[in-house]
Every structure is written in C-alpha cells, then in structure tokens.
C-alpha cells in the first residue's frame, strides 16, 4: 500500500527491513511506538563525499519478494523481531494472566528465541537480524545471538534503540556496498546466471549456456543487479550507467522481463535524480546546499519528507567509506572552487574515483569531454539536470527518452502476466515522472491509457480488491496534483470495486468500514465542506445532485459500518444544507432513517460535538441544525418598566475637564439585573410540511452564570398562509453581574441535541451575532400598595393600579404603602406624583405631609421629589394623600393652545372692554364628568454601588384613575361693578348636577339652595386688587419674548388668584347623599380675563339713567324720540390729575350672529356732546348727557374718553365701564 505516488519512486532506492512482533506477550501500542522510532531513522548518510544516503523502510509485510532477484528493492535484507517480556510493554492483561498460568519465565525466553529464529527462517535471504527485547535480562536470551540481541529494561529506557537501528542499517549498507563494488562478473568467463525462483516454469525450451546470447543475458542480469545495488547505496549516477549497460546486454539477449526491469530502473533513476534536483522527494534537501564545504560544517541536517515529517541526520552517522574519501578534505578549496564553476563535472569525477569502480568503460572518458555550463538553460529543471549530468552520454535522456523507456518497460512487462503488478508500478513511476514535469494533461492521458486496462472486467489477473487499490492510488495521485474532482471520481470507483460482491459472499460491516473513509475523502472533490456553516440561500453550493448522492452514500456507508453517530451527522448535514433540493419522498425517507437511527442510539446525539472515526483519521466537525426550526432575528428585550434599572453616574467623581474627548457615556440601553428574568424575542419558523416538536429550547450565553428557562414548542406545518413564523420569547435568569453575551440557542430536535449560534447576515457575509447585555448586581425591588380597587387602565401592564371615585369639589383621604420586597436596603426612595396640571385651585392629588428623611446624595437630582425616605430590607412606609375632585373641565392638559390661560366656562356676557382674543380660548367640553389619571412614581436607589461609583435607580409606579362625578359646579361667571368703584361682584352661576337638593354656603354663612339640575346665581362681592396696576397686563404683553410674556402674565395671575380665592369660598352640601365639598372654582381662578377685571382700573365710570344707577344687564326701555338723561360719574384711582373729554358713542345690536355696528347718528345728543373733566384720586366728577334715539332697536351706549393734550391715552383695561343698553321701541 502506497500512501503517496512518490512512494512508487522512492521504493526503488529503499532497502526493506521487516519488523514484526514476536513472543507470547503482545502489545500493539508499544510495538507501534517502536516501529515509529525505527522509521524515524529511515535515512542515514553513509558518505559525505559524494553525499550518499542510504534509505531503509521498516515494514511489517513484504510483497512480491519472489521478484527480489529481478528488482533488489523488493528483497528483505533484514528482519527485526520485537518481543515484550512478562510485565513490560503493557501487554493485554487477560493474555498475560493466561500466559502466566501456563508458562514459566524460562519458557517465555525460549518462546521468544524460537519465534525470532522462525522469523529469520521465513526470510532466508536476509543479511542480518535484530531482536529487540523489552523488559528481559540479556542473559536469559542466550539462544539469540549476542550481536543480534537488543535488550532494554523498558521502552522508556531504550535510549540506544535508534543508534542500534542505525548500526543495523550500516551493517546492511556495508554488505550491499561490498556487493556493489564486486564487479568481477565483468571479467569472468563463466558466471552463474541470476534467476527468479520459478523462472524455469515459464521459460520456453532449453537454453544453451555456452551461447553468446546466454552470456550476454547473464552479464545483463548482473549489470542490472549491480545497478540496483548502486541505487540502493545512494549512487544513482552510477546506477544510471549500469542500467545503460544492462539494457544493451539484455536487449541483445532478448531477456524481456529483465530488460523491462532494466528499462524501469533506468527511467526511475532519471526520475530520482530529477526529483532530487528539484527537491521533490526525501533527500532533495541535501542537494540544495550550495557547496560541499558548507555541508561539512553543518552539524545536523533536517530532511523534509513529503509527508511533512522531518528526519534528523547527524554527522555522527556519516560512515567512512572503505575507500577513505576523507582525503578530499585536503584539496577541499579546489573542489569548492570547481564546484562553483562546474559542479557537475566535479561530481562525476568524484563518483568515478570514490567508488573505486571502473564501470563499463565510460567513466574514464569523462575528462575528455569539456562541459559548457550555460548561464541560461531555461526553466525546465530536467533540461538543466540533463545538461549537467549527461553531456558526456551518447544519448541524452531527454523527456521523450525517459517516457519512451518507461513505455518500453511497460511493454516488456506486459508480456508477462505474473508481472502485472510490476508493470502497474512502472506505470505509476512514469506518472510520478509526469507529475515532476508538471505535465498534467499528458499525465491524465497517460494514466487513462495505461490504467484503464487494469480496471477492465477482462483483467482477471487482478481481483476486485487490487482494482480498488489501483483506483485508490489513482485518487491519491490526483489529489497530489490538485485534481480533486478526479480524485473523488477514482475514490468512488475504488469503493465500487471494494464492494464488488463475488459469489457466495455478502457485504460485511468491515467492508463498509473500509470504504467509509474513502468516501468521506471524496466530499472535498464534490465541493462539500462539512466545516463551512452553510448559508441556506447560498446558490453557489456546487453540483447539488452529486453532492446529495455522495452524502447519501456516505451516510449509508457509515450506517452499515456501524458508525451510528457519523451516520446521524451526515444525515443531518444533508437535511440542513440540501433540504430545498430534496424531493418529498426522499425527505420522508431520510427523516424515517434519522428517526430509526436516533431510536437505536442509547445516548442523545450531540450535534455540536466533533466526531472522531477510524482512529482519528476522520474528524467530522460539529453541525448547527439551524433549519429545523428556523430561529432568527434575536432581539433582547428590556426588563419590565417597573424592573428596568438606569445607571446614575456619580457626579461627585466627574472629570476635571468639562469638555473632554474621553467622556464615557453611561450606556443605559440594555441592562439586565441579577436574579431578574430577562427575555429574548426570536422568530421561529417551521419549514417542514409536518408538525415540528422542539424540546428544551433555551438560550446559550457566555460571560456570566446564567440560568436559562427551557421551552417546548409545537410548530404547525408551514403552508401558504402560515409562513412568516411566530414570535416567541426565550427566558433566562442571570445569576451574577458582568457582561453577558447571548450567542445562540440549544434545543432538542428529532431526539438530537442541537446547539446553534445566532448569525447576522450582511449581504454574502455571515458572522456570529453576539448580543452583549450588561448585567447589574442584584437590586432591591420596591412596589406600591394601595387598598383602592384595581383600575382597568392597561391590560398589558402588570403593575398594580388603583381607581377612585370622587364628586367634584369633594376631598378624599387615603394612604399608599411603599414596600421593599427584597433583602437589599434602599438608601433613597423618592416619591413624585404625575397628575393633570391645574392652573388654579387645589391639585387633584396632594400628599398630606411632604417630608425628606433620606440623606442627600450629590449624585442625582432630588428636588423634584415630594417626599423621600430610606427603606430597610423588607421594610415599608405608609404615605397619606388626598384626592380633590377638581373641576373636570379645567386641566391644563386639555389645552392644545400654547396659551396656558384657561377660559373654561362661558362668561355670562362680554363685559370687558376688549375681550375678542380671550373668547377663542373657551373650552366647550360638555359638563358630564370625566376620568382623570394620575400616577404615584417612586424612584429608588438600592444600597449598592458599582466599581465606578455609579448607583442604580429603578422606578415603580401606581397609576390611579380618578373618576370625577360632577356635583355642584360653576357653569358661568360674570364680573359686575360692586357697590363702589373699588369693588366688584363676581356673579357665579352654580349648577347642581346631582339628583338631590344642594345647599350652598358662601360669603360668611349666606345660604342658598339649588334644586337638582338647576342653576342659581351666586353674587360674591370682592374688592378690587390694588396690588396690580391697571396697565400691568398690557405691559406684560409688551415683553420681549413669548415666554417672558407668559411668565409675567402668570405672576400677575397668581397675585390676583391669591387675592380673589379668599372671597371665592362657596361650600356645598348634599344632605341626601351625606356628602359635602367645595365648589371647584379653579376654572375661575385660572381665567385671566376674569381676574383682569378685578384690577382697580385707572378710570371707573358709573352710569345713572334718569337719575337711577344702572347696575343690571337689563335694557332700559325708551320710545323713539324720548329723551333720557345719562349721567356719568367719573372716578379715578390715579394719583395724578387726569384731564380729558368725555363723550358717548352708540352702537346698534343687530343680532348675536351679526354683532353690532356703529350707528352714532341714530342717537341724538342735546347739549354738550363732549364734556371736559379733570379727576384725581380724591376728586370725582359727573357729566350729564341728554340723549334720544330716532330709530327703534337695541342700542348700547358706551363712554369714550379723549385725553386732553399732554395726557396719555387710556388703555381699554384702564377704564371700567358697563355699557348702557337701550331698547328703543316705537310705542312706549
């Protein structure tokens, strides 16, 4: 069996040594180690000038030894017996026990001795032998000759083994060398002819020994043997010459078999020389050294073999040649020089002289032929080699000649059926030559032409196993030259031969065990890479049909060979990668096979584990069965809102730089907490047409200890409607803080344990998707408890929630408990309330006692918190609060307008001087009650700090839904002049929305009853506010920015609210329901247009019609032409005197929808139309007008003040006056 094609070539220069285990105790591992140690010594350097290498191979079997006379490299030159004495070499214990019981110690040594002698007897032509004894005493084995005994106490102490083996090799070398130098056959007249053992059988006729032809035959055969010895002793150049001579003689003697061998030897020698020069085979490295001198100074040399092993050849193994070539050291400088200029000549010269051989007369003529070294000999290595070596030759061994001689050898061999294998080996050597020449196309053709006949059915000389071997050799050869597809083809062909069933024989598991590795190695040729994670959408899979077929064959071979795990792995690979390309019947069959295999396997197959088959020669990588089921798009979810932590950076350790490029941002994106379940959302798809059951599905993570929760899925079959997959969440609990990497998932599918990585595909590239999640230390957990009933606010939210029902204006007291449910203390717990913003009046929810008990921390902002405290482990704290039923229409959240000034109730009348802008702010939501929501928000910091000084904050919330039932509310309001110019009546329309009578108490025990669903008007006297000047609101509007205007307006509103709220205290009680409360006047207090009117104006005007003060909104009825006296009293609140002209203007009210128009000419004023006045804080003045109307209708008469020159104009809000309404009729 050849492991590579070059073995066919190197064999011809290698001496065979058979090494076998003998004796009663056997230990295969120890024996293998000894063989390996011996094999490391397979090359020794036997001469340094010329450099000669002696090759040996240590084999356990020898084949075709009957041809050893024909080809010396087939001969067994020595045997080595390896014996383990009792107690050494780790023999099999059962055998040992058996041996011990039957045999004595003495008989063991006898057995070993006799076995060794038998081994020697098996190979009668050997030169010498060695018996390696491990564990025995030297004196116990006297039956073995002393120089052949190699006794070692144990394998470990056998340090001298290598030198002993080298000694044996040297001994063999010396014997062969002696044979080589014996060229007496050239001169002898009568010499015995070397013959093959059975040659007489197939020889036709009787040979006359006296003929010239016979003599030539003998001489040719001797020359052939001599050439073989030359080759074996490391002198290929001489061998070449000797082969030439042999060919000449044998050709004329027509000794075909030997001629074939001589042709083969010649061509092989050329190949060896060629390969050595190219450094292709073992000894090549030697010849690459630039000069001989350099080689001599090298203490030890590494020889690279083709298999990648390195052989160490030390100079101590250099054997002095019998001719004493050391003398060359004296003239070394000459040789070095000449080797630089014409190395080839030098080499030839030394060969001739050193070996002491005067071969067939060609050597002495060497000097006569001058050698021209051409600088440029082309790139062809053979050309260089040939011109170097054979310039003196009669015929140059050109490429063609080499191939011709190979073909001659093959032709000659083909004449002998029994030499079929020799012929095949020659073919392979020719192929090796073509490999060296890189002539791959010729090689393929040559291989096809010459090996085809061996594989033919007509070839009965070779059995199917030999044919399988031939195919395997071809496969190995094609692999060497990189023709992987050819290799796969021939390997598969060899399997077909191997499994060929002859009559009366059935295929055994062992047959499949043999073919399985061969088939496995064909995968590469078909483009199947078991290591590559296959993209399921990859269209560059290769020849899919062939791949499926070859994978199925491998699966079958593995299954029948009993490699059950390998069979499962191959089957899963087939399903994983080629599922879309399989037809449904095959898919069903494969799944059935898989099911049967899994059932027959006692343990759960681990798909991720590497499988080792055939003593480690085959390694099947792990597989990720990502197709069943398809799990994609992993997304790490944040924790529940009440559990999600945020990292609060420690501000006290802030950088000394404000602006620094090294600022580390706190990453709050993905944070999990120890002992708190985290979730990863994935999409799961079943691409099979049957139901798929996935068991033990859980996440695979790295980084920190993690406790995944296993899930079981039953996925429905995929059809046209259901092919988008379903989304599921995989759970797990991190058990320690740190960086958690979610790398993939594991599951049990089809009874197999499957582990897969998450991958991200970006175009054509796929890389593992590692999701990093930061896991924080275990944190405290706080929740809120409230005895209020649970509110149906949000179905998904698992947080507690509460619901309360109050009447508007009612106050409702309750408590809430903050509970720390963990055993970790909370060092800060702050309570906030999120609620609708109320502009005026009390808020919806208010904590009864805002307090701060928690120590202050620099790290974070605590000013927003209404209350803060510390919570012990498993501790709790109760907070009191009250809910006030605010006017449900008056929250600021309703406003879409940027103006935060509310006008939520309809004013009774447009009484202000200019109220157009405010009217657009009216809230017209019907007065039917409303559900308001508020939230208690508790944020807390566990008493845990990270290494960086960060603390961790969590929030918990308790939403409260407050349902406000309207009871007694304000429906409209109006500001009327009070009993003096410095007071105003706020007339409030109060509506009782309940079904029961309501009792109102206002303005210090004034009482009033309101019937159900009725409205009553409550006048409340309120003095004007002198803290705000009349033009303050106007000035606020003149501010530079909108925000400044808003802030100033709000400031003024707050002053006025404080002033007015003292007077606007209307309490209600419904005795039937036994409830009481306060009429919510927040809407009034938030109305700037109302409050504005309570500012003391600069000028107040009081009307008297026909001597009667005009106070009400009622129209004054007059007839057309009827004169009425309108007296206007002018009151000033200004400190300085104000001078102006007072006049009246009239406008007609046409309708509510059309408004009014200025109709000054419909009113006639008799007397002075404009009356001058001068007023100050102390002095007021009256002016009287006599007016009549000439057209019937509704008219409003308002005063108009024109400032005197030097006076500033009055702003609308600087003047307070109620227009007088007249109803003019024709008849009165």
């Amino acid at each position: 069996m050849k492991s590579s094609t070059s073995d066919f070539l190197t064999d011809v220069q290698t001496v065979n040594i058979v090494i076998k285990q003998i004796g009663p105790n056997k230990s295969l591992p120890a024996f293998k180690r000894i063989v390996e140690r011996c094999s490391r010594q397979r090359v020794i350097q036997v001469s340094d000038n010329p450099r000669r290498l002696f090759h040996c191979s240590f084999t356990q079997t020898s084949s075709y030894t009957e041809f050893s006379e024909l080809q010396q490299h087939r001969r067994v030159f020595a045997v080595i017996g390896v014996a383990f004495t009792n107690g050494h070499g780790e023999p099999d214990k059962s055998i040992r026990a058996f041996r011990e019981s039957t045999d004595s110690e003495a008989s063991e040594s006898e057995q070993i001795s006799s076995a060794y002698n038998k081994l020697k007897a098996d190979y009668p032509n050997i030169i010498c032998g060695r018996c390696i004894l491990i564990g025995g005493k030297d004196e116990d084995f006297n039956q073995v000759e002393r120089h052949e005994r190699l006794c070692f106490p144990s394998l470990e102490e056998a340090g001298q083994l290598e030198s002993a083996v080298r000694e044996l090799m040297r001994a063999i070398y010396i014997v062969i060398e002696m044979k080589r130098v014996d060229v007496s056959f050239e001169k002898k007249q009568e010499i015995p002819c070397p013959t093959l053992p059975d040659e007489s059988r197939w020889q036709v006729g009787v040979e006359t020994k006296s003929t010239k032809s016979y003599k030539k035959k003998c001489l040719g055969r001797y020359r052939k043997q001599h050439a073989d010895y030359c080759l074996l002793t490391g002198l290929p150049q001489l061998a070449l010459e000797a082969y030439e001579g042999a060919i000449e003689s044998l050709k004329s003697a027509q000794d075909h078999l030997w001629l074939a061998a001589a042709y083969d030897g010649w061509a092989s020698t050329v190949c060896i020389l060629h390969a050595e020069q190219m450094g292709e085979i073992n000894c090549g490295a030697f010849h690459r050294v630039a000069s001989m001198h350099a080689m001599l100074t090298i203490p030890s040399i590494e020889i690279k073999t083709q298999n990648g092993e390195s052989l160490s050849v030390s100079n101590d193994s250099v054997l002095s040649s019998p001719q004493g070539h050391k003398r060359h050291h004296s003239d070394e400088h000459i040789r070095v020089n000449s080797s630089m200029s014409g190395g080839s000549m030098e080499r030839n010269e030394s060969f001739g002289n050193e070996s002491g051989i005067v071969s067939n007369g060609s050597s002495p003529s060497i000097r006569e032929e001058p050698t021209k070294i051409k600088a440029s000999k082309g790139l062809n290595p053979l050309t260089n080699f040939l011109s170097d070596s054979w310039n003196f030759r009669r015929e140059k061994p050109t490429k063609e000649r080499v191939m011709e001689n190979f073909k001659n050898a093959i032709d000659e061999f083909s004449k002998f059926t029994m030499a079929g294998w020799l012929e095949y080996e020659t073919v392979m050597r020719a192929i090796m030559y073509l490999i060296l020449e890189r002539e791959y196309i010729k090689l393929e053709q040559f291989h096809r032409d010459y090996t085809g006949k061996y594989l033919d059915d007509a070839n009965t000389f070779m059995d199917h196993r030999m044919k399988a071997q031939i195919c395997l050799n071809s496969a190995a050869m094609y692999k060497e030259i990189g023709f992987l597809r050819k290799q796969a083809f021939y390997a598969r062909l060899s399997v077909l031969f191997e499994l060929h069933v002859t009559e009366g024989r059935v295929r055994q598991a062992s047959d499949y065990k043999t073919v399985y590795p061969v088939l496995f190695k064909t995968l590469e040729g078909y483009g199947v890479d078991l290591n590559e994670p296959h993209d399921m959408k990859n269209k560059k899979l290769g020849p899919v049909k062939l791949q499926i077929k070859s994978l199925h064959e491998i699966f079958t071979a593995a299954n029948r060979a009993g490699h059950r795990d390998a069979a499962i792995r191959h089957l899963c690979f087939l399903l994983q990668v080629y599922y879309p390309h399989l037809d449904s019947s095959m898919t069903t069959r494969l799944f059935d096979d898989l099911d049967n295999l899994v059932k027959a396997t006692p343990t759960v197959h681990q798909l991720s584990q590497t499988i080792v088959v055939d003593d480690g020669k085959i390694i099947i990588p792990g597989l990720q069965l990502t197709r069943f089921p398809l799990i994609q798009t992993p997304t790490v979810l944040a924790l529940q809102p009440n559990l999600v932590p945020t990292i609060v950076p420690d501000k006290s350790q802030a950088s000394i730089f404000i602006y620094t490029p090294f600022g580390k941002k706190v990453d709050n994106s993905l944070l999990w907490v120890t002992d708190c379940p985290g979730e990863v959302e994935v999409t799961v798809r079943n691409c099979r047409e049957t139901e798929l059951i996935v068991r033990d599905l859980c996440l695979i993570v790295e980084g920190v200890n993690f406790d995944p929760v296993q899930a079981r899925l039953i996925l429905p079959p995929e059809d046209e409607e259901n092919n988008s997959g379903s989304t599921i969440r995989l759970l797990g609990v991190p058990k320690e803080p740190g960086d958690l990497f979610i790398t993939g998932y594991s599951c049990n599918i089809f009874g197999l344990h499957n582990e897969c990585r998450f991958v991200t595909s970006n175009g054509n590239s796929h890389k593992p998707n590692k999701i990093r999640v930061k896991v924080l230390p275990k944190l405290a957990r706080v929740y809120l408890e409230c005895s209020l009933p649970r509110a149906p606010i949000d179905e998904d939210n698992e947080e507690p929630s509460a619901e309360a029902v109050v009447y508007s204006g009612q106050k409702f007291d309750h408590t809430i408990t903050v509970v720390n449910s963990s055993d970790i203390p909370v060092r800060y717990c702050g309570v906030k309330i999120w609620q609708p913003i109320v502009q005026g009046g009390p808020p919806l929810i208010r904590l009864d006692d805002s307090e701060t008990h928690a120590p202050e921390f620099d790290g974070f902002e605590i000013s927003d918190d209404l209350s803060s405290f510390v919570l012990e482990p498993n501790g709790s704290r109760e907070l009191k609060f009250h809910i006030f039923g605010i006017d449900p229409t008056s929250t600021a959240d309703d406003l879409s307008d940027e103006e935060k000034v509310l006008e939520s109730v309809i004013p009774l009348a447009n009484t202000s001087a200019n109220s157009e802008t405010e009217s657009s702010d009216m809230d017209l939501i019907p007065f039917t009650g409303r559900l308001l929501t508020a939230e208690f928000i508790v944020r807390y910091h566990s008493d845990i700090t990270s290494d960086e000084g960060h603390s961790f904050e969590r929030k918990c919330k308790l939403p409260i839904a407050v349902s406000i039932i309207p009871a007694v509310t304000v429906s409209a309001w109006h500001v009327l002049p009070g009993d003096s110019p410095f007071s105003r009546y706020i007339v409030v329309d109060v509506t009782n929305s309940t079904e029961h009578d309501a009792e109102l108490v206002y303005s210090n025990a004034r009482r009033m009853y309101v019937l159900p669903k009725e409205t009553c008007r409550v006048p409340i006297l309120s003095p004007c506010c002198s803290d705000v000047t009349g033009g303050a609101f106007h000035q606020a509007k003149q501010r530079g920015s909108h925000m400044m205007q808003k802030m100033e307006t709000e400031r003024l509103r707050l002053i006025l609210e404080n002033h007015v709220s003292k007077h606007l205290d209307i309490r209600w009680a419904i005795p039937a329901l036994n409830i009481e409360g306060q009429v919510p006047v927040g809407s009034l207090l938030s109305s700037v247009s109302l409050l504005k009117q309570l500012v003391l104006p600069a000028i107040s005007l009081d009307f008297y019609v026909n001597g009667k003060q005009y106070v009400s909104e009622d129209d004054v009825a007059v007839g057309i032409g009827q004169f009425v006296t309108v007296e206007v009293s002018i009151i000033s609140s200004l400190a300085a005197e104000y001078n102006g002209l007072l006049s009246l203007e009239c406008e007609q009210e046409i309708s509510h929808s059309l408004g009014s128009n200025d109709t000054g000419n419909f009113m006639l004023v008799t007397g002075a139309k404009k009356i001058p006045f001068a007023v100050d804080k102390e002095n007021k003045q009256s002016a009287s007008f006599s007016v009549t109307f000439i057209v019937e209708g509704s008219f409003r008469v308002r005063p108009l003040i024109t400032p005197m020159p030097g006076q500033h104009a009055l702003l609308p809000e600087d003047m307070f006056a109620t227009p007088v309404a007249f109803s003019v009729t024709t008849k009165f």
Partner: protein
C-alpha cells in the same frame, strides 16, 4: 452501443450544472436513462479538472476531446467568462460538436445578456431549450 448518444451540460463557476440536455432529445426518461444521467454527472464532473487544466494552458475555446471513461468521450468548450460547456458522447463527432458548441455559445451569450439573468443561475428559458434541441438535431445526429 449502437445509438449515438449525447449529453450536453453547461457548468457554472461552482461546478454546478446550469443547463442539461440529452440528445437525441425527446426520448422519454426511463429508469435506465435516469441511471445513465447520474453516471454522466459523475463523468462530466470528473472531467472538469482536465477542462480547467486545458483552459489554463490554451487560448482556444473549443478544447476537443479532453477525457474518456468507458464508452463515454468528453468534449469541452470554455467561454470567455469561464463557463464550461461539456458534451459526453459515445461516438466521435468532433466537427459537429464544434459547430454545436459555437451555436450554443452564441445562444448562451444572448441569454446572458438579459439583465434579469444572473451569471451562474440555472437557465430556465424555454426558447433556450428549443434552440439547444434544434442545434442538437442539426449537429449531433
């Protein structure tokens, strides 16, 4: 083998057949022919090493007969874009095969010029099949 048989395949860059056709065309697929088809796949695939080696060493597109296994000869043609056309045939018909390859090359180029066709995709054009069958009848009989 009495009948002349041909198996034509266009092989993509990953050794995958992108078009296959048997000649004489139109014969019903028997179980035996399915088996032959498998064998053809193996022989054709193994010949690709030689085809590639030829393609490296010669500038010719038509590579003549490059391989043989049992009764099957393999002839090949390599396009400029290294798409390989191979024919497995039981009888030598070099001139006809050469003509067939030339015609199919032109047809393939026309097909490949379709902007919706991506190189290495399986050829599923009915017109292409009809052309191949036509040229098969014309040159491979």
């Amino acid at each position: 083998m009495a009948n002349k048989e041909f198996y034509f395949a266009i092989i993509g860059h990953s050794d995958q057949p992108i078009f296959e056709m048997d000649f004489p065309a139109g014969e019903r697929k028997t179980k035996e022919s399915e088996g032959t088809r498998h064998l053809n796949h193996y022989i054709g695939h193994a010949a690709l090493d030689i085809v590639d080696e030829h393609a490296f060493t010669t500038t010719q597109m038509y590579l003549k007969m490059v391989d043989k296994f049992n009764e099957w000869y393999v002839s090949a043609f390599v396009t400029a874009s290294r798409i390989r056309f191979i024919i497995l045939h039981t009888h030598r018909a070099d001139e006809g095969i050469k003509q067939f390859f030339q015609e199919m090359y032109e047809t393939y180029i026309k097909h490949a010029m379709n902007p919706f066709y991506e190189i290495d995709d399986v050829i599923e054009s009915i017109a292409f099949e009809q052309k191949a069958a036509l040229y098969g009848r014309k040159y491979l009989s």
